[in-house]
Protein backbone atom coordinates (compact mmCIF):
# COMPACT_ATOMS: atom_id res chain seq x y z
CA UNK A 1 0.00 0.00 0.00
CA UNK A 2 1.23 3.44 -0.88
CA UNK A 3 -0.83 5.12 1.84
CA UNK A 4 -0.57 3.71 5.35
CA UNK A 5 -1.65 4.45 8.88
CA UNK A 6 0.87 3.79 11.62
CA UNK A 7 0.32 3.31 15.36
CA UNK A 8 4.04 3.73 15.98
CA UNK A 9 6.79 6.21 15.05
CA UNK A 10 7.31 6.47 11.31
CA UNK A 11 10.51 4.76 10.11
CA UNK A 12 11.60 7.31 7.53
CA UNK A 13 14.72 5.33 6.60
CA UNK A 14 12.68 2.29 5.62
CA UNK A 15 10.08 4.46 3.85
CA UNK A 16 12.78 6.23 1.84
CA UNK A 17 14.23 2.86 0.90
CA UNK A 18 10.96 1.90 -0.76
CA UNK A 19 11.32 4.84 -3.17
CA UNK A 20 14.83 3.96 -4.38
CA UNK A 21 14.94 3.42 -8.11
CA UNK A 22 17.87 3.28 -10.54
CA UNK A 23 16.00 5.68 -12.79
CA UNK A 24 15.37 8.24 -10.05
CA UNK A 25 17.62 11.27 -9.85
CA UNK A 26 16.43 12.20 -6.40
CA UNK A 27 13.57 12.34 -4.00
CA UNK A 28 11.60 14.90 -2.04
CA UNK A 29 10.12 14.24 1.40
CA UNK A 30 7.78 16.21 3.60
CA UNK A 31 7.53 15.63 7.33
CA UNK A 32 4.64 17.10 9.32
CA UNK A 33 5.59 17.68 12.99
CA UNK A 34 3.58 18.36 16.11
CA UNK A 35 4.15 22.01 17.01
CA UNK A 36 3.53 23.75 20.30
CA UNK A 37 0.88 26.24 19.19
CA UNK A 38 -2.14 26.58 16.93
CA UNK A 39 -4.44 29.55 16.45
CA UNK A 40 -3.22 31.32 19.55
CA UNK A 41 -3.39 28.29 21.85
CA UNK A 42 -0.42 26.53 23.44
CA UNK A 43 -0.60 22.88 22.41
CA UNK A 44 0.74 20.15 24.71
CA UNK A 45 -0.09 16.99 22.70
CA UNK A 46 -2.26 15.67 19.88
CA UNK A 47 -4.44 12.67 19.23
CA UNK A 48 -5.04 11.46 15.70
CA UNK A 49 -7.98 9.21 14.94
CA UNK A 50 -8.80 7.70 11.54
CA UNK A 51 -11.67 5.88 9.87
CA UNK A 52 -9.14 3.29 8.72
CA UNK A 53 -10.89 1.55 5.80
CA UNK A 54 -11.85 4.77 4.04
CA UNK A 55 -8.69 6.67 5.03
CA UNK A 56 -6.51 4.08 3.32
CA UNK A 57 -8.80 3.93 0.30
CA UNK A 58 -8.88 7.72 -0.15
CA UNK A 59 -5.14 8.00 0.54
CA UNK A 60 -4.44 5.40 -2.15
CA UNK A 61 -6.59 7.36 -4.58
CA UNK A 62 -4.58 10.51 -3.86
CA UNK A 63 -1.28 8.73 -4.51
CA UNK A 64 -2.68 7.26 -7.73
CA UNK A 65 -3.81 10.73 -8.83
CA UNK A 66 -0.36 12.14 -8.08
CA UNK A 67 1.30 9.41 -10.15
CA UNK A 68 -1.05 10.18 -13.05
CA UNK A 69 -0.65 13.96 -12.81
CA UNK A 70 3.10 14.17 -12.36
CA UNK A 71 5.78 12.12 -14.15
CA UNK A 72 7.35 10.74 -10.95
CA UNK A 73 8.69 7.25 -10.19
CA UNK A 74 7.26 6.36 -6.76
CA UNK A 75 5.22 7.98 -4.01
CA UNK A 76 4.40 6.95 -0.47
CA UNK A 77 2.56 8.54 2.45
CA UNK A 78 2.45 7.35 6.06
CA UNK A 79 0.18 9.01 8.63
CA UNK A 80 0.30 8.49 12.38
CA UNK A 81 -2.70 7.68 14.52
CA UNK A 82 -2.83 7.69 18.32
CA UNK A 83 -1.33 10.07 20.86
CA UNK A 84 1.59 12.24 19.72
CA UNK A 85 3.88 14.52 21.70
CA UNK A 86 5.44 17.81 20.65
CA UNK A 87 8.12 17.27 17.96
CA UNK A 88 6.71 13.87 16.96
CA UNK A 89 6.21 13.26 13.27
CA UNK A 90 2.53 13.16 12.32
CA UNK A 91 2.87 12.49 8.61
CA UNK A 92 5.54 11.63 6.07
CA UNK A 93 5.30 11.97 2.29
CA UNK A 94 8.07 10.86 -0.07
CA UNK A 95 8.30 11.04 -3.85
CA UNK A 96 11.15 9.86 -6.08
CA UNK A 97 11.51 11.16 -9.59
CA UNK A 98 13.78 11.34 -12.60
CA UNK A 99 13.99 15.12 -12.17
CA UNK A 100 13.44 17.19 -9.06
CA UNK A 101 10.72 19.57 -10.23
CA UNK A 102 7.97 16.97 -10.50
CA UNK A 103 8.99 15.45 -7.17
CA UNK A 104 8.41 18.77 -5.37
CA UNK A 105 5.09 19.27 -7.16
CA UNK A 106 3.82 15.75 -6.46
CA UNK A 107 4.88 15.89 -2.81
CA UNK A 108 3.03 19.18 -2.32
CA UNK A 109 -0.04 17.82 -4.10
CA UNK A 110 -0.15 14.71 -1.91
CA UNK A 111 0.13 16.48 1.44
CA UNK A 112 -2.41 19.14 0.43
CA UNK A 113 -4.96 16.55 -0.73
CA UNK A 114 -4.40 14.31 2.30
CA UNK A 115 -5.15 17.21 4.63
CA UNK A 116 -8.38 18.00 2.79
CA UNK A 117 -9.78 14.60 1.91
CA UNK A 118 -8.60 11.73 4.10
CA UNK A 119 -10.89 10.93 7.06
CA UNK A 120 -8.37 11.55 9.82
CA UNK A 121 -9.13 13.82 12.76
CA UNK A 122 -6.86 15.69 15.13
CA UNK A 123 -7.67 16.52 18.72
CA UNK A 124 -5.48 19.18 20.26
CA UNK A 125 -4.82 19.19 23.97
CA UNK A 126 -3.84 22.62 25.29
CA UNK A 127 -1.61 23.67 28.15
CA UNK A 128 -4.58 25.34 29.82
CA UNK A 129 -6.34 21.97 30.08
CA UNK A 130 -8.81 22.50 27.25
CA UNK A 131 -8.97 20.29 24.19
CA UNK A 132 -10.73 20.38 20.87
CA UNK A 133 -11.15 18.59 17.55
CA UNK A 134 -9.50 20.77 14.91
CA UNK A 135 -11.94 22.14 12.29
CA UNK A 136 -14.90 20.78 14.28
CA UNK A 137 -15.32 22.73 17.47
CA UNK A 138 -15.24 26.28 16.17
CA UNK A 139 -17.33 25.45 13.16
CA UNK A 140 -20.03 23.83 15.29
CA UNK A 141 -23.42 25.30 14.56
CA UNK A 142 -23.78 28.28 16.87
CA UNK A 143 -26.86 28.33 19.07
CA UNK A 144 -29.49 30.33 17.27
CA UNK A 145 -29.80 33.90 18.35
CA UNK A 146 -32.00 36.53 16.76
CA UNK A 147 -30.86 39.97 15.75
Amino acid sequence: MRFRLSQTAIDTGAARGELLDLGAGGYVAFEGWVRDHNEGQEVSRLEYEAFPELAVKEGERIIAEALRRFPVRHALCIHRVGTLSLRDMAVWVGVSSTHRGEAFDACRFIIDEVKQRVPIWKKEHYRNGDSGWVNCERCAAAPGHAH
Binding site: H79, V114, V118, P119, I120, W121, A141
Partner: protein, 79 residues
Amino acid sequence: MQLNIHYYALMREQAGRSEETLETSAATPSALYDELSARYGFTLAREQLKVAVNSEFSDWSRRLAGGDAVVFIPPVAGG
Protein backbone atom coordinates in the same frame (compact mmCIF):
# COMPACT_ATOMS: atom_id res chain seq x y z
CA MET B 1 -34.27 -2.42 9.16
CA GLN B 2 -31.03 -2.72 11.06
CA LEU B 3 -28.04 -0.49 10.36
CA ASN B 4 -24.54 -0.52 11.78
CA ILE B 5 -23.29 2.93 12.75
CA HIS B 6 -19.65 3.65 13.52
CA TYR B 7 -18.61 6.88 15.22
CA TYR B 8 -15.24 8.61 15.09
CA ALA B 9 -13.67 11.66 16.73
CA LEU B 10 -16.18 14.36 17.68
CA MET B 11 -19.12 12.17 16.62
CA ARG B 12 -17.87 9.36 18.88
CA GLU B 13 -17.60 11.67 21.84
CA GLN B 14 -21.02 13.21 21.28
CA ALA B 15 -22.71 9.85 20.72
CA GLY B 16 -20.86 8.39 23.73
CA ARG B 17 -20.04 5.22 21.81
CA SER B 18 -17.87 3.91 18.97
CA GLU B 19 -20.56 1.86 17.26
CA GLU B 20 -24.07 0.59 17.53
CA THR B 21 -26.58 -1.52 15.70
CA LEU B 22 -29.76 0.43 15.24
CA GLU B 23 -33.31 -0.51 14.30
CA THR B 24 -34.54 2.42 12.23
CA SER B 25 -37.02 3.45 9.57
CA ALA B 26 -34.64 6.12 8.22
CA ALA B 27 -34.51 5.54 4.48
CA THR B 28 -31.48 7.73 3.73
CA PRO B 29 -28.29 8.86 5.50
CA SER B 30 -29.88 12.29 5.71
CA ALA B 31 -32.92 11.02 7.62
CA LEU B 32 -30.65 8.87 9.77
CA TYR B 33 -28.53 11.88 10.73
CA ASP B 34 -31.65 13.81 11.73
CA GLU B 35 -32.81 10.89 13.87
CA LEU B 36 -29.43 10.46 15.60
CA SER B 37 -28.93 14.18 15.96
CA ALA B 38 -32.19 14.42 17.88
CA ARG B 39 -31.04 11.58 20.14
CA TYR B 40 -27.46 12.64 20.79
CA GLY B 41 -27.54 16.40 20.23
CA PHE B 42 -24.79 16.50 17.60
CA THR B 43 -23.45 20.04 17.35
CA LEU B 44 -22.49 19.87 13.67
CA ALA B 45 -25.04 20.61 10.99
CA ARG B 46 -25.42 17.97 8.31
CA GLU B 47 -24.06 20.43 5.73
CA GLN B 48 -20.71 20.35 7.55
CA LEU B 49 -20.38 16.58 7.26
CA LYS B 50 -19.81 13.92 4.68
CA VAL B 51 -21.20 10.44 4.96
CA ALA B 52 -19.85 7.00 4.09
CA VAL B 53 -21.89 3.85 3.49
CA ASN B 54 -20.05 0.54 3.53
CA SER B 55 -16.66 2.30 3.69
CA GLU B 56 -17.21 4.51 0.64
CA PHE B 57 -18.30 8.14 0.36
CA SER B 58 -22.01 8.33 -0.34
CA ASP B 59 -24.77 10.76 -1.28
CA TRP B 60 -27.00 11.86 1.58
CA SER B 61 -30.02 10.78 -0.49
CA ARG B 62 -28.87 7.18 -1.14
CA ARG B 63 -31.47 4.53 -0.21
CA LEU B 64 -30.15 2.60 2.76
CA ALA B 65 -30.48 -1.19 2.93
CA GLY B 66 -30.54 -3.46 5.96
CA GLY B 67 -27.05 -4.28 7.19
CA ASP B 68 -25.46 -1.15 5.72
CA ALA B 69 -22.59 0.34 7.72
CA VAL B 70 -22.87 4.12 8.05
CA VAL B 71 -20.21 6.60 9.18
CA PHE B 72 -20.75 10.34 9.55
CA ILE B 73 -17.57 12.22 8.68
CA PRO B 74 -16.98 15.57 10.40
CA PRO B 75 -14.47 18.05 8.89
CA VAL B 76 -11.14 16.25 8.55
CA ALA B 77 -7.82 17.48 9.94
CA GLY B 78 -5.01 15.15 8.94
CA GLY B 79 -1.44 16.28 8.40
